[in-house]
Amino acid sequence: MRERKLVEAEKKNIQQKITKWDLFKVFFASFFMQAVWNFRSLISIGFSICFLPIVGKLCKTPQAKREFFERHLKFFNAHPYFASFALGISIRIEEMRSKGELDSLPNVDRLKDLLIGPLGAVGDQLFWATIKPASLLFGMLGIILSPTVTIKIIVLVLTFLIYNIPHFYYRYEGIVEGYHHATDIYKYIGQQRFEIIIRWYSYVFAISLFSLIFIYSYQLSQENPLLILVLLIAALYTYLLNRFSTNFYLVTFASFIFFLVVGILFF
């Protein structure tokens, strides 16, 4: 009877282990996830170090901690912001392991392997290909339109918020959702969930890009109308060169030198 009470008390103790504050500490550590990026295990060291604030709660003995880190130091990669979903899932599974719920325990390695593709694809599409260029183009447009340095600084603050609000949200929410829905996370990381945000940021992308070209062209026309032609031809020429070669350095140099010669000959 006494033993049973002790086991129940221990179980209750474990159940209350991971708090919101713990998840927040992991969230903070996740900002350094790519710190030790390497070609053999990619982001796994940074990923493992994210667990340092809570590993004491998940593993009681040094041996258990050793096995824990050995499991998570294996190959892993994902978009740095979306890797937080994998963090949350791993915390939940490790917690289940520590509670002794071995029957329903999913294989953490296999689950992480399965997440590499979706987390990378969604993150790259959402952040690198949409939110980042849209935010930066918005910032550039604001800078070109602002007459004073003070307004330019305000524009930079806005740009920072436009980019980092979704950044912080998915970084934190990923940990929380991964933790609460470890076994059915696929319902939460499908492309369709991010359709609305992608659509709105792509509008910002398009409006900022074309407004920027229009306003910059107008400014150039005040200086020398021929410069508008230089801007548009340089863009078109480099775009075509990019189709022939993927070597960034070669294309940029070739294009730049070509237009320097054009400038020397015709201006």
């Binding site: 900002f31 710190a35 030790v36 390497n38 912001y81 980042k132 800078i143 920072f160």
Partner: protein
């Protein structure tokens, strides 16, 4: 301005690219005005950041792909332009510095490659520490790795600044006397190259949206 202090600031801001935070602070439109503010000319910082922002934006760091280190190149370029602005010939300085920026972005990419290979050694060390149950040192290893990157960028920046203290005062007046007026094309050309870099991403995003709507 003390070049050591300036290089330290550039190295700290460079950590934001991939190693810590990734909050966009290292992007040219943020980092160049910061460098400009340190060197007493925020307006030029904004202008250089604006011109250089799009050049490197088209390269997406997906998977293990190492992109040209344009952010570091932009910060060093802003510093070079401001440190040597008293020479005059602003278009010529921008022309030379932009060409240097392309080379610096290549050097930066090579440094990233070396850094990631070095991190392989840190992984071996981490695995050894875990086997020996020395978990306290894991954080020290992470910080050491970050410090290695900081040091690499710091030394590179110092070398580039020192080299340009010799190079720019000799080159700019000679080329500037010949072509300063012709180099008026440089600003629109840099922005044009940037637009060409961003345009494929724009087309992809729009194409995807259109396909979803039809679907």
């Amino acid at each position: 301005m003390d070049l050591i202090f300036l290089s330290a600031i550039i190295s700290i801001l460079s950590l934001d690219i991939t190693i810590a935070f990734q909050m966009l602070i290292s992007s040219p439109i943020f980092a160049c005005p910061i460098i400009g503010w340190i060197l007493g000319d925020v307006r030029t910082g904004f202008e250089v950041g604006f011109l250089f922002q799009l050049i490197w934006l088209g390269r997406i760091p997906a998977g293990a792909y190492i992109v040209p280190e344009g952010n570091i190149a932009s910060m060093i370029s802003t510093a070079l332009i401001l440190l040597h602005k008293e020479i005059g010939f602003p278009n010529t300085i921008l022309t030379i510095v932009f060409m240097e920026a392309i080379i610096i972005s290549l050097i930066g990419a090579k440094l990233t490659l070396i850094y990631r290979k070095l991190n392989g050694k840190i992984l071996n060390l981490t695995e050894r520490l875990v086997r020996r149950i020395h978990f306290k040192f894991l954080l020290i290893l992470e910080v050491s790795s970050m410090f290695i990157f900081f040091l690499m960028i710091f030394i590179t920046s110092i070398l580039i600044f020192q080299g340009n203290q010799y190079l720019l005062p000799r080159m700019v007046p000679v080329i500037g006397h010949l072509f300063e007026d012709q180099f008026i094309v440089v600003k629109p050309v840099i922005l044009g190259i940037g637009l060409a870099s961003i345009f494929p991403i724009f087309l992809k995003v729009m194409h995807r949206n259109a396909r979803k709507k039809i679907g």
